[in-house]
Symmetry: C2
Amino acid sequence: MSSTASITDRLLAGDRTALARLITWAENGDERFPEALSAVYGRVGQGWRVGITGPPGAGKSTLVNEMARLQRAQDLTVGVLAVDPSSPFTGGALLGDRIRMEDRTMDQGVFIRSMASRGSHGGLAKAAVDACDVMDAFGLDSILLETVGVGQAEYDVLEAVDTVAVVLCPGAGDGVQAMKAGLLEVADVLVVNKADQPGADRLIADMNEAIHVRFLPDRDWEVPVVPCSAGTSFGVEDVLAAIADHRAYLERTGLAEVRRAKRLIQIRQVVDAGLSEALWDRRGFGDLADRELVGERTPYDVADSILKTVLAEISAAPTATGGTPA
Amino acid sequence: MSSTASITDRLLAGDRTALARLITWAENGDERFPEALSAVYGRVGQGWRVGITGPPGAGKSTLVNEMARLQRAQDLTVGVLAVDPSSPFTGGALLGDRIRMEDRTMDQGVFIRSMASRGSHGGLAKAAVDACDVMDAFGLDSILLETVGVGQAEYDVLEAVDTVAVVLCPGAGDGVQAMKAGLLEVADVLVVNKADQPGADRLIADMNEAIHVRFLPDRDWEVPVVPCSAGTSFGVEDVLAAIADHRAYLERTGLAEVRRAKRLIQIRQVVDAGLSEALWDRRGFGDLADRELVGERTPYDVADSILKTVLAEISAAPTATGGTPA
């Protein structure tokens, strides 16, 4: 399609409108997106992607704004993607600050976008990866992906990034809760924001102990606990330095492999969704399930027999040339 | 397993501890759950399941508490399942009110539980259906499933219920946003809470117009717009009456078919998850994808060729006896 070719050409030429359009395609799962991504894929891989997550109220938005400001001062181009899996409402509080930030400076070096779950039909994590890919191909040096909450959907979205910064603060979502929720396991950098408030020293000490003693004994990367106060810009440079350290660590120990592993997760999602569509929407598994759903058979019973049928088909198939797994 | 049999016997005998245990199994995707559900499935289908959803701040929790109180006064047993897909933190604000409510009365006719996304590994919607099933088998007359937000995960959870009540209020998440977000499409009953506040009349009028004119022309069921003020209990009886009307409508027009359709969605989820596990974790599709992920091939390109391989296998398989779809 000529429109796909022209939009990818414009993206590579630095046209922000084309970038916005391609992110919309990613968000909507537009059928033209895979071809567009192919056309620009050679340019993907230069930008550094940082996920910023943590409980509501931890000050993630303020921190992201401040990080973007400091990176612009270093002449880096910055993309901000604010992702809210818990809401189909676009905009609102999430985007308000950012629009003001962009308007104020009319800065062509900052690109800001929010994504909500509306229109993504459950594929928000994939849409976020796709959006990061096009921001990356566009040439943004730093891509900051901020989540609103800390649920499973947010964790899935974090598969898109290179470095995960978990933001905590005294009071809102304390350290014990963060441990229980598995937040420490996903963190590459632990930020204790509002470090000038009561309870911050205790939280920092708790997090240092948790990191060193209990949670991550097998990882080579020692997760730093970085105090800051994004509202006054205190410590935000330290956060950026910790992220740079993590980047250097990954580049030293095999960044390509890490990113490849993330790509495999993406591939699995696309294959599984395509397989589901092929079996249910095109091959009539729904009718099969309907016939088997009789009497007091539970959905689990029915699912089990359908699964056996399809797996038997695959096992019985002749070995395909060159591609069938052992 | 004797433990599974004894726990289901205890559930059917009215043991609340057994109910709590089985919901935990559902939440964790415990491998004993399917067998346990089979054992009690004959008792599933008596309780009425109501989903209460809407934007944060609309007053859902207050409404649910008041609905439960009124239903208890009618001598109905009530289960409350508060579901928060946006947080892996259990308890907190979500559960606080409810624990107080249960403690205060020591009422054996109310069962309260919260579910967060922690531990559910993305399968929160399935876990919610499973939890409703065991609450239903336990014998609760009314099951109130409350969501925290209004994102895709919440919409998925609502597949578990018979009647969806969407709660709006003046100010928080206005009518236009609700329409854009597709909230009206999922509503069986539209509740305008805080109906004594400024803007309520306008919101009620807008919603009535939206329902009648623009959104649901093809449905037999005319979605009622019910004003209430849960804080003062005003109108909550009307909400319950509207839900009873919707129940009567479904029972008249084919409740069994509606519930069957929901079961099919569940079956699809279980089959798809099982198929994904079989192909990737046991049959080495990951290695296949890894071999194909070369050069500038995008994840979409690789997914496409894997998908073609597996679908060719299924098409090439000999027709299974008695179960293969056309």
